[in-house]
Symmetry: C2
Subunit: 215 residues, 2 copies
Amino acid sequence: MTGQVRTVDGRVAGRRGQATRQKLLDCLREMLDTSPYRDVKVIDVARMAGTSPATFYQYFQDVESAILEIANDMAKDGQRLKALTEGQGWTGKGGYAAAEALVDGFLDFWREYEPILRVVDLASAEGDKRFYKVRQSILTAVTTGLTEAIEEVQAKGKAGDEVAPNAMAGTLVAMLAAVSGHQKGFETWKIKMKDVRPALSTLVFMGITGKKPPR
Amino acid sequence: MTGQVRTVDGRVAGRRGQATRQKLLDCLREMLDTSPYRDVKVIDVARMAGTSPATFYQYFQDVESAILEIANDMAKDGQRLKALTEGQGWTGKGGYAAAEALVDGFLDFWREYEPILRVVDLASAEGDKRFYKVRQSILTAVTTGLTEAIEEVQAKGKAGDEVAPNAMAGTLVAMLAAVSGHQKGFETWKIKMKDVRPALSTLVFMGITGKKPPR
DNA sequence: CATCCGATCTGACTGATCGTCAGATTTCTG
DNA sequence: CAGAAATCTGACGATCAGTCAGATCGGATG
């Protein structure tokens, strides 16, 4: 799957090439930490990496492609979120703990990759399928996990015509992603993340079980 | 508040000037509908408006400032969302209907201003205070409305140490904004908006009342 | 209607970045 | 160390940002 690293013109990159490429990616990521996406210039990234713009274009089609690369690595790391939906039952006290773990996992993950996820979100919303795919690869795992959990709960209960499990799961995941992506915003405002965590956990729990969490 | 329209160098714009300015804003908005934010060029906007780049810079500092202008108009329109949290009680069947109305209001609003909201979201997350303020002016009204609703419900009930009302409200609003902003994404995927609406309404209702909605 | 004047627009320019390519430089191989 | 392969870069044409002085427009005046 993860084929060898190649240059734009298809040659396989050697040791030195890989190092340069990686350095460019690192610098790009740092750049995104500090500058608005719209203002990230190839020339700045190259300068920071101590190389020339031409070198950048040897390894990447354009800035977007390079970010996509970083995003792919991130998505690989993101697969660990999947585990947070599996294994434990979702009812009762253990269920609420599971909800809390899921929430914390999201918050941490988003905090770590915040600038990249911003770009991924934008590009996805703008219809770029490559980025949409990356975003989905992170969210899908969690969404399907939650979908199964909801289906299980609904099967157990007398279950009338409930909310569609996958819609509820998708909504919960979108909520988690959104709040995670605006952590700074919340804190700049009058809302403490300390209070947001239980709010999220409660909504996740209620979305899955349909009940108020136990105290 | 809404002072006269001024050029960059402080002169008050007359009829012709206002028309030109508006045309530029319209073209910019159309541009954002079709091109990625990062690719929107002043020169293209000017060309589309049948004028020259120099004219653009007569009315706007840069592309961001112009978008901010559009965003401000949008925010003004967005104040109508406030009404959706007021007036009706949130308990029982009427409460669920209110939740549905709120959800629909959000979905419609976001659909209408999608490309602008994308940029507002990004710029806010990137720390641009001007855009953050616009975003807040839309969300705050709704958030405070919901906060009051939750406080009211909690006061009525025996209310132990519940979730912080403003955190819950902020979370619900973030959820609504997120899902609204990814409507296309949901549909491209396997989730129907037809199913998402009740999921959202249910979460809103449960977040406020702590109970499952009545059937 | 001719003239004038402020409002408005634009051609033209400088500087910055993009994206490319041929050729220089470095590293590897034997 | 020579030769080949890999890697890097200076330099270039094209595009866009942003500025300014001067051209044009449109209404007011006599």
